[in-house]
Symmetry: C2
Subunit: 224 residues, 2 copies
DNA sequence: CGGGTTCTTGACTATCTTCAACGAAAGTGG
DNA sequence: CCACTTTCGTTGAAGATAGTCAAGAACCCG
């Protein structure tokens, strides 16, 4: 999952779980905290998230970390470059996966339909990452956090008492590392949103969006 | 082209020009300033840059712009998502292109080898963009500019009097929009590098790297 | 219950942006 | 070819945004 532009919000994405002929690796489910693969590992499988949440990360030598993406149900992760993984991947909560052989991506000989699905997922990934560029490079902290919450409510929000409610599966520092901010800035922005009565923080991991319109308004700067 | 991590600098990329059976669209060359495609256009062709430089951009409603990538010789641009282009693309200088039918990416039936090349280019794109995330989200202005110059000298630098020299085909504001900075900050950082005698600014568009080691050192924070 | 982690808040600081001015370069039209 | 205009690059000063450092609060887990 990346933070995309508001224009995409209207039509919530399709999360078709592709069921196909795919024998599974050792185990297709992870406990919270388990690692699926590390940067540098050879890619034998791609995975579609069936339930749970994955976290894809990269680290710089000096310790600075970037969360590249979160993997929510429907997302496909593990695309190889030169046959290798280029991120670490672990599970934030218990997660079930549908594995696909990497060979299905390499060539459509055996299963053209699956090949096409995986290829399109990769291409989608590119365009979603382009959205995320815009966000990382050009948006303020408030815009980033608001955009993040908007995307999250769209993808995993539940209706509770007429309001959208989201359970955040990741820590504040994961959010910070995803948005290119510090944990402190993420915290402060959450607090501001709470004080502006745009969201309510039920508890650390549960956010209720009280004024979705106002939140959406914060995702972009006023266009004169 | 994205700004990648220093670890990739050792091995300069391969710029194999793939020659394959591909009838060409109207014209496979562009004058400086010409537009190749716009965001929202249907994708009929992918293009490999044979010579010249392309610029891929996105704009926000309020006018903020992000340069997504530069297309240097060897790069393949135009990957579709849902069959559409998701960036604008224009030429910074006169540019020659090798067009490939989009159908070659969609399926390998006709030409498995070309299919594989295009697919791998797309996958490479994903991992290069992940590097760029790290840069946009976690690096300081000085680190960004230094990284940018390092990548550029590696890709299009010429040896002149024993020094690497680069001709920048893009404006200061293009660089700023690529790195998530303002033109002023880019200017000031260039000036600092000049005053530190790490680079020389022959003229606005021509930079000589006097101390490549120092430049490389600036691309990352000291790891304690 | 206790110890450790994560979250939150405050005070201060650094970095980068904004605004403004000026100079250089490039394009235009007489 | 030269004056004019426009754009782009550079620099300075001031201000804002987000980062850093530090401390306390809340939460989690054994």
């Amino acid at each position: 999952m990346y933070v995309t532009l508001p224009s995409d919000f209207g039509a919530p994405e399709q999360f078709n779980i592709v069921v196909g002929p795919a024998s599974r690796p050792n185990d297709a489910s992870l406990k919270a905290g388990d690692t699926l693969f590390y940067e540098g590992d050879p890619v034998d499988w791609l995975y579609q998230v069936k339930s749970g949440v994955l976290r894809l990360t990269r680290v710089l030598e000096d310790g600075r970390q970037q969360v590249i993406a979160f993997g929510f149900p429907g997302d496909i992760v593990g695309f190889p470059s030169d046959g290798l993984h280029h991120t670490d991947c672990d599970a934030l909560v218990d997660t079930r996966l549908q594995p696909y052989r990497r060979s299905a991506l390499d060539s459509g000989e055996r299963n053209p339909e699956l090949h096409s699905v995986l290829l399109n997922a990769a291409l989608h990934e590119i365009s979603a990452m382009q959205d995320h560029f815009m966000m990382l490079g050009r948006k303020s902290a408030a815009e980033k956090v608001a955009s993040f919450l908007c995307v999250l409510t769209n993808r995993i929000g539940k209706h509770v008492d007429g309001y959208q409610q989201v359970r955040l599966p990741m820590s504040r520092s994961d959010i910070a590392d995803f948005l290119g901010l510090t944990t402190e800035t993420v915290c402060r922005t959450f607090t501001q949103l709470r004080k502006s009565k745009i969201i309510e923080i039920e508890n650390i991991y549960t956010i209720t969006v009280v004024r979705p319109d106002a939140l959406l308004g914060l995702t972009m700067r006023d266009c004169d």
